[in-house]
Symmetry: none
DNA sequence: TATGAATGAGTTTTCATTCAT
DNA sequence: TATGAATGAAAACTCATTCAT
């Protein structure tokens, strides 16, 4: 693995573990097995490492959502697949996801603005799926799609505080359950 | 308002805004309109302020949940009321709730342990309601109650990142929608 | 002496000796006999110390020049007295004067702008004296007053690189010689 | 232009602009359009660049002064010519002259010693001219020649802080005025 | 009760220089 | 000749906390 990759990995795991502000650059370079100078050769600052982590998560999530949303299956199936995929990838990149949700306020103001804008776009793409289902009559329309989207991503956000990769629940089970709950809450009740 | 109260209020709003680690004691005392010496007269440390905020939130949530859970209404109604109440109180104490969810890792290790233990008790009380509904046949049993509880509290946790008190959605509407979504996801589908 | 005064004195002598950029804050506080924290209690930054030194020199020189210029003696006498006084005060505040002339480029850009504006005002007040003598016919008019002013202040500027307080030449002698040379260069030649 | 020449030029302009200590090697090589490795191939250190700049200025000034001093014209004319020439060459090599006067304290101690010795020799050669005029009766003898020499070089030193090559005053005019002022201050007054 | 000067450990960052290629 | 990744020492600055008053 290259030095920058080792640094990103070390930073990701440490930021996930203790929070950006409680991690010293010294710890990051020690975990990566390099010196501080090397870090500043590749990254302009500690903030830069965080920015890079955000960039990677955003790019990955956007690509994957797009793939699922653009499919031709019925909307309920596409939403279920996309929701399950968010869970799976969040769990597979557990540390990065944790950092993503908890360290927004540690980003420099201008980057934070950009990140929020990208997240909003992502949120809107997801919401559009729900609206599509509501327009087509599959989903109940008495819940604002925007609110349902927040509702679901809240659960994703929260994963980092309780889910254990080494626990009894496999990522696929977790993902299916969560996607089921989302769909259940959107379907018409009898 | 007394000096300690002013300090707690100032600390709560600042911690909510920027995160515990990005707030200097100097800022807190300035916002509270007192001096550092005064703060250290009433609180042993900056950590102490955080601990106090956690204590208040925990005590309040536990009391309220107990009140709703101990009622004699049908379980679905009790769960709906309890869920809606969590939302309402979180929104009414927006800053404290934000701090509560985001600053666990800034607590000193031993306090963090206590806080987690209390939260677990709270979580279990809520889960017990769901299990009661599953045992009685009102709720679907194919979703682990523990997971559904996490699912719901994730949405509460997440509120702090998007809900705006001054937005168009009133707390009561928000609470009803969220409680509806929870109940909808637990009911049997047709 | 108070702590801020001790710090200013230590900084002045060290900046004069080695130049602002070659002096570590650690050296300053050691010479002042305090800790770094104490320095940052009184001064916002290392730059701040430099700014303060500039402010003091500027205030003193402006006041003194004004006093001499506003007199009612013949202009040649007033110019001679003012010129000699610049030398005397520069020599009496040797370190501060050295810093003043050599560290402009180490000032933060905005402060540098202010300092230059103040110096210009000072320069213009001095130049006005020369122009007064030219207008009255005492001084030769074939040398631009502005240029003569620069000419003289160059010699003051330069003092720091060669004059030794502990040398054979007393400040008063130095001052008289320099003021004589200035006046000589301005008088009509036979 | 060769690589070493480009490096010297880049270093000279940057040192003149910001001062030796505020210029990073990285900036120098960027302005010169080469890499750090290349610089360290030709120069042993950043100090080495500064030493080279001092060497060039010293050699040039010494040669030129010698040429003017060794002439057979009357001493007043030789001094006037030498003085004007110092101004002209300082202005023609504005950046190098600026560096020469302002960065002595950034030279490594031993080099600084050498540079000061060479400057002293130069100063003495100039002073000898004044003493020659005093011995011959052309110049007033009541001003120490040493002091008059410092007086004049102070003005040269100072040029870098106010003279603008693109201003209204041409180098030749400046040089003539300054040489005139020097001679005027040395002549007997009526 | 309250002040605020002072501490000192810890933080991020810079940068001249080296060296394997 | 030249590259540029990597080093490591030193720098400025922050901040929770203490303590004499």
């Amino acid at each position: 693995m290259t030095v920058p990759e080792r640094l990103i990995d070390a930073a990701t795991s440490l930021f996930a573990e203790k929070g950006f502000d409680r991690v010293a650059v010294q710890e990051i370079v020690e975990r990566a097995g390099v010196t501080k100078g090397a870090m500043y050769h590749y990254f302009g600052s500690k903030d830069d490492l965080l920015r890079e982590i955000y960039g990677r998560v955003l790019r990955m999530q956007q690509e994957r959502l797009e793939k699922f949303a653009a499919d031709t299956d019925p909307v309920a199936e596409r939403l279920h697949a996309a929701a399950a995929d968010v869970i799976i990838t969040s769990v597979e990149n557990y540390d990065a996801a944790k950092v993503f949700f908890r360290s927004v306020d540690s980003l420099p103001a201008e980057i934070r603005k950009d990140v929020r804008a990208e997240r909003r776009k992502y949120h809107e793409r997801f919401r559009a799926l729900i609206e599509e289902g509501q327009a087509g009559g599959e989903f109940r329309a008495d819940v604002p799609a925007d609110l349902a989207t927040h509702y679901f991503f809240g659960t994703v956000h929260h994963l980092g505080t309780w889910y254990r990769l080494d626990g009894p629940l496999k990522p696929e089970q977790l993902a299916r359950h969560y996607a089921d709950l989302l769909l259940a809450s959107l379907r018409h009740q009898h």
